[in-house]
Symmetry: C2
Subunit: 342 residues, 2 copies
């Protein structure tokens, strides 16, 4: 086995992205930055169709921003709903060659990783889409919404949102960029499944943190140090999992306490009702990356980041059958490349 790091064969850029969120996210700290928000139904008669509609809208926004409506070589997508139907129904009308992913809440990172690998080798332009919806997730993974189940402090609130990203190795696409910098995916590292015996489905942060530890430890062992990066971003560890991640790495002599942020901690106010340990879901990191982190890279506010998508690879049946919960964390090293120098 190699060291697990995959380097892009051509320079590869995130040339546009789109974010669509629901009401609770709109009223959160990043509310003004999302491209589109709606009531949580998005004009549909079931929550599953609403979630699919968010994917359709998010990809449409990203394609329009990239001034590309038909030129996607491969589309990657996945979500949390059984058999990933939000992706298939949401993206059906686009008619792009499609490769479905399942990475639970790590799907945003997995889709960007896939897009970067393909766009830098066998393809030129790829897109990645993912989503989650509080209402479709809650009734599938936990209780009927009408039941109003109480949740412990370590539990997280599934983000209602979808993020879409267009990734290209065509320098011509980059020149259309209207900002001084463009996010460039430099290298990626797929995660490994790590199971540290967490069986509490209300504490996903604890289940996922060890996989982020594993990926970061492997990455830093290749000669990198945490202080090279303006931000080390995790997807949805939440407050519980973020603390565990910092502590576990600290015990291994790696200090990320100064530059670590978690999308789950950013998307809602800590005081927002019932969000407890923070946001979660495939949509969580997707909308925060699209609306906030990548935007800050484009503006030069940050210039070098690590993004780890974190996922918990379980389902309600595996938990009820007594299985513990493995996590996974895929890493991307993204930097802001000066457009004029490309």
């Amino acid at each position: 086995m190699g060291n697990g790091l995959l380097k892009m064969q051509k320079r590869t850029f995130i040339i546009s992205s789109g974010s669509v969120v629901g009401q609770k996210e709109k009223h959160g700290p990043l509310g003004e930055f999302f491209d589109l928000s709606g009531d949580d139904r998005f004009g549909k008669d079931t929550w599953e169709k609403s979630e699919a509609e968010m994917q359709r809208l998010a990809l449409g926004i990203a394609l329009r921003k990239a001034e590309l409506m038909e030129d996607i070589d491969v589309l990657f997508a996945g979500d949390l709903i059984n058999q990933c139907i939000s992706s298939s129904y949401g993206l059906l009308e686009y008619k792009f060659p499609f490769l479905g992913l399942f990475g639970a809440c790590s799907t945003c990172a997995e889709g960007l990783l896939m897009s970067a690998v393909y766009a830098s080798t066998v393809s030129t332009r790829c897109a990645a889409v993912t989503s989650s919806h509080f209402c479709s997730a809650e009734r599938q993974f936990r209780y009927p919404l009408e039941y109003g189940g109480q949740r412990p402090p370590t539990s997280q609130w599934t983000v209602t949102g979808s993020g879409a990203f267009v990734v290209s190795s065509d320098v011509g696409d980059v020149q259309l960029n209207k900002s001084k910098y463009v996010p460039e995916i430099v290298e990626v590292m797929p995660g490994r499944m790590i199971d540290r015996g967490i069986s509490d489905a209300n504490n996903m942060g604890a289940a996922m943190a060890p996989s982020a530890v594993d990926t970061l430890e492997r990455y830093f062992s290749l000669g990198h140090a945490p202080d090279e990066f303006d931000l080390i971003i995790t997807g949805d560890l939440g407050r519980e999992g973020s603390g565990i991640l910092i502590d576990l790495l600290s015990a291994r002599g790696i200090d990320i306490s100064k530059n670590h942020v978690d999308c789950g901690n950013m998307v809602f106010e800590p005081t927002s009702s019932d969000t407890h340990a923070g946001g979660s879901g495939c949509g969580c990191s997707a909308v925060v990356m699209s609306a906030d982190i990548l935007e800050n890279l484009r503006r030069g506010k940050v210039s070098d980041i690590l993004f780890l998508g974190t996922g918990a690879l379980m389902n309600p049946m595996s938990v009820s059958q007594g299985q513990t919960i493995p996590g996974i964390a895929h890493l991307l090293h993204i930097r802001g490349a000066e457009v004029d120098s490309i």
Copy 2:
């Protein structure tokens, strides 16, 4: 958008594969060719754990045949069970970098396609695994097993089986091959989601056939003809879907009636009880490809094939919400390369 065809950047080979099946498959026409069969429980106390165990066993067999136990750069896997838990629990112990897929019954082709793209570019050795289990699928998608629901003639029987494949661009790996030929993945074409309005969840063949038509039509439009290939293999269209595929292509002036075969038609005797229109599931094409088709390539019995994994991108809730069923079909062009000439 390009023509959708992805060409390998280095010569890339399927250097080994493993197949594990249950009792009904063992007693089918290909029974003697599978690497391992067991009672359908595989020593586990739930059907979901049994399915995961088949994945663990299948990958172990493929790795042993390749004389590689630790040198996999990226592992791709997915399955039909909600949130793909057969893959996560089944493959957890291998500790390889892992990228999860969801392609429904097309997952074998999607995993091989991914492995070929990665192994020919950013990685060297990849593996792809998938599975299905009649009992876990039946109770998740249809009725409790104890109910013994009757099924119409167009319905198919989910194959209990798992297939694993090791794909490498390292010529040294090929030299270990003990046969005269080795399957080489020449080029691949990801499918597009196609929905022709089929809403009958007991007729997956009809739902999936139009996507196979779309992919084959796109492929042949690049200057290929059906008679270049010894076999044009679909994953699990079954007898109903195979007939539809041949008819729809015939109406477009493309005749595949002479060399088309379907893994779903090969895995069970037509008279096998309750299998109706044939086998289905992620495991169907995986075990037939591993035990039969690839073996015939290795022996020189066939030398040039097209393999299309076919999948139906739905879940029981989408059907109950009145959604029709999109299909997808990923294509691989595989040929038998003479080992001495590599």
